[in-house]
């Protein structure tokens, strides 16, 4: 399992569009992707759970990936979050 803590930089936080972008990009990976925020784990491939987490701009989240392609999944996830999730 690999993990990294990142900061959400897009202005609107985890709204519909960023959550869609993130979950859809994670879908092809075999690894399980989770976002840990405020002590709760959220499924990184689920747009609903990502939105339900109410992650605002500036929040720090820990991304963990577990599975055969975990390194690639984490790299993609971190890149997406840091580039503002398409916002």
């Amino acid at each position: 399992m690999v993990s990294k803590t990142v900061k959400i930089v897009n202005e609107q936080g985890m709204h519909m569009r960023p959550a869609t972008v993130f979950s859809q990009a994670m879908m092809p990976f075999t690894a399980e992707v989770n976002l840990c925020f405020n002590g709760t784990k959220y499924d990184g491939k689920s747009v609903m759970m990502l939105m339900a987490a109410c992650i605002k701009c500036g929040a720090e989240v820990e991304i963990t990936c577990d599975g055969p392609d975990e390194e690639a999944a984490l790299a993609k996830a971190v890149e997406l979050v840091e580039s503002g999730l398409g916002d």
């Binding site: 900061k7 519909m16 959550a19 869609t20 879908m27 109410c54």
Partner: protein, 567 residues
């Protein structure tokens, strides 16, 4: 007459097509063959996914990629592994697919509708849309085909779901009325994109109307009439024509220069907050950027943005504007804009304290990072530097010295920049206004910030409701100040702009024409409106009005006189 929320401007008069909700009731049964039931759900998911993807494509083609994002979000929801996982679990426990869809969607709807954030609460209606779609697919219910309604139709529905809105044919639908939804709902956004008048949140309207009833939809005022008498209809026919004419008149100013009635050319720029806003400025026919607030680079971060980060952002804006002016206001923090990582102390009087250029000059290294970023961007277009909150000549001199320092550094490093980059200042304090003639000898241009100028001239905190009545740019003191600043700039031969809200105010514009303002910087959406108002005033007419107004001793009289003369 019914009142609702005005969600999309304009007037529509037409014949109602009532979209009734389908009967999606089902009998919950116990499932023995859970695998078969799960694949039945899987098929419904696939059917809805394909249908939604087609709608997304339809919207992308007919409205735009931004609007299509809603449907792309729906696809993500439909195929959400957490949702389908929950549903499959319920089927495994013996529930039928319809019951599983209902229970899981309702759980999420309940969760989202309790959220504080309005945009998140809106998502509840998306999930509801997905739920309806899945149930229809499972029950084999066909949709009403909105794309087939005849010309002159007013659509009435409990809620116009994004999937319904996506089928609307613009030429056939003249109005939209719903029982739910707000200004930021998808229906409202799509109605505005399609330029169809819409009134949302009209309570109980679906119970009050039937197919073929005549409806008047006033999306500007948020008013609806059902089967109105002839007098009301003729009133609204006239209103509709006026609206269309006014819109067409505004459009006729697109792509034109900004000229006063007697043919004097002025510049009409936009205020922006991020590089992407520059695209909007171009779309709205702005002639340049009169105020690029650089704070967005500094807010919502844990550390100072690097020179490269800043350079990229400024370069993006400058390149989008493609040779047109981009005036970048350097860091304007403090006051009401706090940046936690700077560790500024809390002050008793933040608006009179350590902010803007005062902070920048005390932290020269931080400031130089920004100045270097702007200088580097100036190699890619027409960037200008603007200093906020100037109160004395020393500040401009100090900033110019720093700019020169940065220039020699860049030269030594072999990095390109515009050697003739202009450095101007905001005139937004009482002090700057009083010594505008002296500042004009140092600055390459002025830009009047009416919001702060009003606050500092009137000594009034506009956030304080008890004194906010004093906060008006039409106070005689503020008007005199504006006049003085513009005249001082003109006497020194430098251009004077204005980037506060007043620059787009129809009442203020004739005065600015009389004083001789060179550049108006407004919110992008107001470009055509401002250009239209400027075109209605000649210098002579504006002078006559200004002379009269400047003699009036109270704000009330000033506003009354300007309103009476408004064009």
């Amino acid at each position: 007459m019914y009142k609702g929320i005005e969600a999309s401007r304009g007037i529509g008069i037409g014949s109602i097509c009532l979209i009734t909700d389908h009967d999606l009731s089902f009998e919950a049964k116990h499932i023995e063959d859970t695998e078969a039931e799960k694949s039945r759900l899987g098929e419904a998911v696939e059917t809805l996914k394909v249908k939604t993807a087609a709608m997304a494509e339809n919207i992308r083609k007919n409205i735009g990629p931004k609007e299509a994002e809603i449907m792309e979000g729906h696809i993500a929801m439909i195929t959400d592994p957490a949702m389908s996982g929950e549903m499959n679990k319920m089927i495994d426990a013996g529930q039928c697919a319809e019951a599983a869809v209902t229970a899981v969607c309702d759980m999420f709807i309940g969760m989202f509708s309790k959220m504080e954030d309005e945009m998140m609460r809106q998502r509840a209606s998306d999930i509801s849309d997905v739920k309806t779609g899945l149930l229809k697919a499972l029950l084999g219910v066909e949709d009403v085909d909105i794309s087939k309604v005849p010309q002159g139709t007013v659509l009435v529905a409990h809620d116009l779901t994004p999937s319904m809105t996506s089928q609307i044919v613009k030429d056939n639908v003249v109005g939209i009325i719903t029982e739910v939804g707000g200004k930021t709902s998808h229906s409202a956004i799509l109605a505005r994109a399609l330029e169809i008048p819409a009134v949302l949140s009209v309570p109980g309207i679906t119970e009050q109307v039937k197919d073929k009833d005549i409806a008047v939809v006033d999306g500007t005022e948020g008013v609806v009439y059902i089967n109105p008498d002839g007098e009301i209809v003729s009133k609204y026919v006239i209103k509709r024509e006026e609206f269309i004419r006014a819109q067409a008149e505004l459009e006729s100013f697109r792509g034109k220069e900004t000229l006063t009635a007697d043919g004097n050319k002025v510049e009409l720029f936009c205020n922006i907050g991020t590089p992407k806003d520059a695209k909007k400025a171009i779309e709205c026919d702005g002639e340049g950027i009169g105020l690029f607030r650089s704070e967005f680079l500094f807010m919502d971060k844990s550390h100072l943005p690097s020179e490269d980060e800043q350079f990229e952002a400024y370069k993006e804006a400058v390149e989008i504007m493609n040779g047109k002016t981009v005036i970048i206001r350097t860091l304007d923090i403090g006051g009401d804009k706090d940046i936690p990582y700077l560790g500024l102390e809390k002050e008793d009087n933040p608006f009179l304290g350590y902010r803007a250029v005062r902070y920048c000059l005390a932290n020269a290294e931080t400031y130089k990072t920004q100045l270097r970023g702007i200088l580097r961007a100036s190699a890619f277009g027409k960037a200008k530097i603007m200093i906020p909150l100037v109160t004395c000549v020393d500040e401009i001199r100090a900033v110019k010295a720093l700019v020169e320092e940065c220039k020699s550094e860049l030269k030594a490093e072999g990095i390109g920049f515009d050697d003739k980059i202009e450095v101007g200042c905001m005139v937004e304090t009482a002090a700057a206004s009083l010594i505008a003639d002296m500042l004009a000898k140092e600055a390459d241009f002025f830009s009047i910030g009416t919001n702060d100028l009003t606050q500092y001239t009137m000594s009034v905190d506009r956030g304080n409701a008890k004194v906010a009545y004093l906060y008006s740019a039409f106070q005689p003191a503020v008007l005199r100040s504006i006049k003085n600043i513009i005249e001082a700039g003109k006497a020194a031969g430098i251009p004077v702009g204005m980037c506060g809200e007043a620059a787009a105010d129809p009442l203020m514009i004739p005065l600015l024409i009389s004083f001789g303002l060179d550049e108006y910087s407004v919110n992008s959406v107001l470009v055509l409106t401002a250009r239209s108002i400027i075109s209605k005033w000649s210098k002579a007419d504006a002078d006559a009005l200004a002379q009269k107004v400047l003699a009036l001793p109270t704000e009330e009289e000033v506003v009354a006189a300007l309103k009476a003369a408004a064009r």
